[in-house]
Symmetry: C2
Subunit: 210 residues, 2 copies
DNA sequence: AAAGCGTGCAAGCAAGTGCTTGCTTTATGG
DNA sequence: CCATAAAGCAAGCACTTGCTTGCACGCTTT
């Protein structure tokens, strides 16, 4: 791995656990295994290094998994939850640190907010498609529904290591726990398989048995 | 206001917008309008001052508004959302900053997490009572449901000034937008009034018309 | 009036921090 | 084999930051 990349990775790592004030150039250089002077020769200033490292980290986000034409909302939403929760959990340190420094450097926090924003939009559009095809109730607020599910994932990813015993279930279980609730919330049938009478996963069919 | 209190308030204010590293004793003293030396004479060290200020802030949380015996879930939940969202919004700076410094000082972040934790417990217990009295479906996961609603409120409070145009509705509208979704999610009728045939607020009755 | 207490002020110290300079070492490639 | 570029090393500079010291001023209590 070349020196620039080593520095970028080290910068991100140190930033995650110390914030931008705590991420000293000496420490970043040490973590990267290069001399402090080299850092300045490559990036000019600490601020430049940090912004580049953060932008690089913020640009990585998962590819869309929600299909253009919905078929099995339960399965598709569960997979979407899984993917995005995993991504949020991986980035939780950066996100938390950036959010904590929002008042000091709003533009840094802003760049980290982009990925969740895109995800919520994606979900919102999918919900509209569900409704168009009659797979969900006509009168729910798609924006609010997207915000609710996204918010649940977000606070799961952010809160789990701060309050370890708050959630009664493991992180991998979250999609299976949340999706049935969500499906009911938007008045959605549990999917085409159930309509054909094939009993799907019982934890996913509760929306129909009231 | 006496000097100690002025210092505690100033410390919290500065901490909110600069974090514990950025909250220098000189700046806190200046903000409080007292001499820096006085700060040390009262609290001994910067760390002691900050911990006391934070603990003091974390101990303030809203009184419970969920009744022992549920009557009108829609109204009661909406009020609960309103109260807790307002509280989360008021404390959003402290919460964000503490969360951002979780890796550096876990105990600080922990103390801020207590209020949301209590709130979620409160909601969870209320949901169990709803179910006992037949006001909600028998088979939803109360822990997950509480986490979902709480998560939606949490990320609304934290995210709104980071991503101002993400939410399609004003913060005051959040309860009215979220509660109907949530009621459907837990399979709850919109309340005793509807059972008696009196049409309640139409945005709150969608759970029954599937 | 004296004594004590809380506060302000000026100065400073030791450690850390962003960044620079000047020099040596070590590949890399023509 | 030598020139060029990239990296290391030692030192240091200006500035911040937590915290201390010594002293003067004013207020309350006895």
């Amino acid at each position: 791995m070349d020196v620039r990349e080593k520095l970028l990775h080290a910068a991100l790592r140190v930033f995650e656990e110390a914030g931008s004030r705590g991420a000293t150039t000496r420490r970043i250089a040490g973590e990267a295994g290069v001399n402090e002077v080299t850092l300045f020769r490559h990036f000019g200033s600490k601020a430049a290094l940090l912004t580049e490292a953060l932008q690089c980290a913020a640009s990585r986000d998962p590819a869309s998994v929600l299909p253009e034409t919905p078929r099995d909302p339960a399965a598709e939403l569960a997979e979407w939850c899984r993917v995005h929760l995993a991504h949020l959990r991986r980035s939780r340190s950066v996100i938390r640190t950036c959010m904590g420094e929002f008042e000091q450097a709003p533009e840094m926090a802003g760049c980290v907010g982009e990925a969740p924003a895109r995800a919520a939009d994606e979900l919102h559009d999918y919900l509209l498609r569900l409704r168009e095809r009659g797979l969900a109730a006509a009168e729910f607020d798609a924006r609010a529904a997207a915000a609710m599910l996204m918010g649940a994932l977000f606070s799961d990813a952010m809160g789990r290591d701060i309050m370890p015993d708050r959630f009664g279930y493991a992180p991998e279980e979250a999609p299976a726990k949340l999706v049935p609730l969500f499906l009911r919330a938007i008045g959605a049938a549990p999917g085409p398989r159930a309509e054909r009478g094939e009993a799907a996963d019982p934890t996913l069919t509760q929306a129909s048995d009231r």
